[in-house]
């Protein structure tokens, strides 16, 4: 495992990206910080986080997956289809551990659940899956 892919280094870098976009000191952010509940994050900030993650780690960033943007829509669909929400979560958000999925489902009613560690886990998952790009993408 290279230094960049060490879990704590990834979390630290993710915190750095979030701090820079939100213009706040990094030490005010922890892995447990909830992005949309504890920080003054707007939708355009998520766009900037995505660009920052792509630039820092060279991974493709699916905003919908990393930021759990449609989590509640997918849960509602699963409920309508009488499907197992845990299975749906495992399929759509493979970077989240079973424990984390259980925690999310348990605390849904408290507000937006996305945490800093969720984003770091997405990055780690992408790096381990070898999805990092050789060079930054050239869009368009």
């Amino acid at each position: 495992m290279t230094q960049q892919t060490a879990p704590c280094a990834v979390t630290e870098r993710v915190i750095g990206i979030i701090a820079e976009v939100l213009d706040i000191p990094p030490h005010t952010i922890t892995p447990e910080t909830r992005i949309l509940r504890d920080l003054e994050t707007e939708s355009i900030d998520l766009l900037e986080f995505g660009v920052g993650l792509n630039a820092a780690f060279g991974i493709p960033v699916a905003d919908d997956t990393v930021f759990l943007t449609s989590l509640r829509v997918h849960l509602e669909e699963a409920r309508h289809a009488d499907a197992d929400p845990y299975k749906m979560m495992a399929g759509r958000y493979p970077h989240l551990s079973c424990d984390r999925v259980a925690c999310i489902l348990r605390t849904l009613d408290d507000g937006p659940v996305l945490s800093v560690q969720d984003i770091a886990d997405y990055v780690l998952h992408a790096l381990r899956a070898g999805q990092h790009e050789k060079a930054p993408s050239h869009a368009g």
Binding site: V21, I44, L47, E48, G50, V51, A55, H138, A139
Partner: protein, 436 residues
């Protein structure tokens, strides 16, 4: 039909190469301090940078990353103007915003290696395009100050910010809005910005790589003129109906009395050689002010220092004033600030008010051999008869008008007739209503 309203300026905010407060601007003019320097890339020209750190000025507002340098200056100036007018906590929701805006040509600050565009773009933010949209400053100003009324962004080249003030004036005069924030901000002090004007042959060459040579490069209305020096800056003004201002006890700095605009329909960049259509804009502004050329007590000319502008403008002004036998003093403030592109009209209005309200007019710098003797160019710091004391309760006893002119590429002409009010003792104590 509603009666026409009188329109006053009750707050000004600025970022200029002469300083940002009226006190600093005045001090620069009185001591002859300018900041002209040789350009580096492309080399061989002169520029006047404003001492402005966008990160510093807009600290605490994280979306500042979406503002290009000119837009950041605009937002800062707008906030200063609102504060100066007594709206530090925010503008009324019905306040309009009228902002002049130029093309953003500062590619080199967005890309590490502009010569290799677009090799790398992973350093750009997701909404990087906002730095290139003309209405980003207006959007930021609206968010920060809560102004949500009728609004307009003008993109009419170097006439843009004077037109923005004029368009705001008209809406207030005719009762569409009671109050508006108007002005503009722009910077072309970048590789792209300077290259654009250098290729167009509009920049004055700098004979040596020294500050002295840069300070001497821009020579409006001189027979030896060779172009303009690039400047940068912003200025915004709170305009409101006299009634609205008086009701809240605001002290007017000036009255806006008339506005005119027109197009040459002549060439892509060159002005009409006799300024025929520029004259139409000027006469419209005077007509709206209920005045004629004989009522003009000072002219703040566009005066870029380019061969064509200054010739056309002097021919036009001579035609305007000669029949009256009246020769008002003619100023060329670009000889002090450099050419602030789309922000020039607003920046020059701010400089004019800073000086005229305290009783003097700045000379035309570097003017040794005037291109004509039919105009009375200001040659040294001159006592100002263009500003009258604003008499609260008796504002009808006022006459002197100052004419401001901005003529842009594409044959865009704008003229504004204003009446600066001399700083009274009370207003002087408040120091031009600018907060510390």
């Amino acid at each position: 039909m509603q009666a026409e309203r009188r329109v006053v300026i009750t707050g000004a905010g600025a970022v200029t190469p002469l300083g940002h407060t009226p006190q600093d601007i005045r001090q620069s003019v009185l001591t002859g301090r300018t900041v002209f320097e040789p350009t580096s890339v492309p080399a061989g020209y002169a520029q006047a940078p404003a001492q402005f750190d966008a990160d510093d000025a807009l600290r605490g507002w994280r979306h500042r990353r979406y503002l290009n340098r000119g837009a950041a200056m605009a937002v800062h100036a707008a906030r200063q103007a609102a504060g100066a007018a007594g709206f530090a906590a925010g503008l009324p929701g019905y306040c309009g915003i009228f902002a002049g805006s130029g093309p953003h040509l500062d590619m080199d600050s967005d890309y590490a290696q502009p010569q290799h565009l677009p090799q790398r773009h992973d350093t750009l933010c997701a909404l990087w395009m906002l730095r290139y949209l003309p209405n980003t400053a207006a959007s930021a100003i609206s968010q920060l100050l809560g102004a949500r009324g009728e609004s307009l962004v003008t993109g009419t080249a170097c006439a843009a910010s004077l037109q923005a003030v004029g368009e705001a004036f008209r809406r207030i005069r005719h009762g569409v809005l009671p109050v508006a924030l108007a002005g503009g901000g722009d910077s072309r002090l970048s590789y792209g910005g300077l290259l654009a004007y250098a290729k167009a042959g509009a920049l004055a060459p700098c004979s040596e790589d020294t500050h002295a040579a840069a300070a001497a490069a821009c020579r409006p209305f001189d027979t030896g003129r060779q172009g303009f020096a690039a400047g940068e800056g912003a200025a915004f003004f709170v305009l409101e109906s006299l009634d609205h201002a008086q009701k809240r006890g605001a002290v007017p700095l000036a009255e806006v009395c008339g506005y005119g605009c027109s197009m040459d329909g002549h060439a892509m960049t060159a002005p009409h050689p006799q300024g025929m259509h520029a004259e139409q804009a000027v006469r419209t502004a005077l007509h709206e002010a209920g005045a004629g050329p004989a009522d003009v007590t000072a002219v703040c000319a566009h005066g870029t220092g380019t061969l064509r502008n200054d010739t056309a403008e002097s021919v036009m002004l001579t035609r305007l004033f000669d029949p009256t036998g009246h020769r008002p003093p003619v100023l060329a403030l670009k000889s002090w600030t450099g050419h602030c592109a789309s922000a020039c009209g607003a920046v020059e209005l701010a400089v004019l008010l800073a000086c005229a309200r305290h009783g003097f007019l700045p000379p035309v710098r570097n003017l040794q051999a005037p291109l004509c003797d039919s105009l009375s160019f200001v040659r040294r710091i001159q006592p100002c008869t263009a500003a009258e004391l604003y008499a609260a309760g008796r504002p009808e006893k006022l006459s002197a008008l100052t004419l401001l002119q901005s003529f842009g590429f594409g044959g865009q002409n704008a003229a504004l007739a204003v009446r600066p009010f001399r700083a009274s003792t009370a207003a002087a104590i408040q120091d031009d209503n600018i907060p510390a």
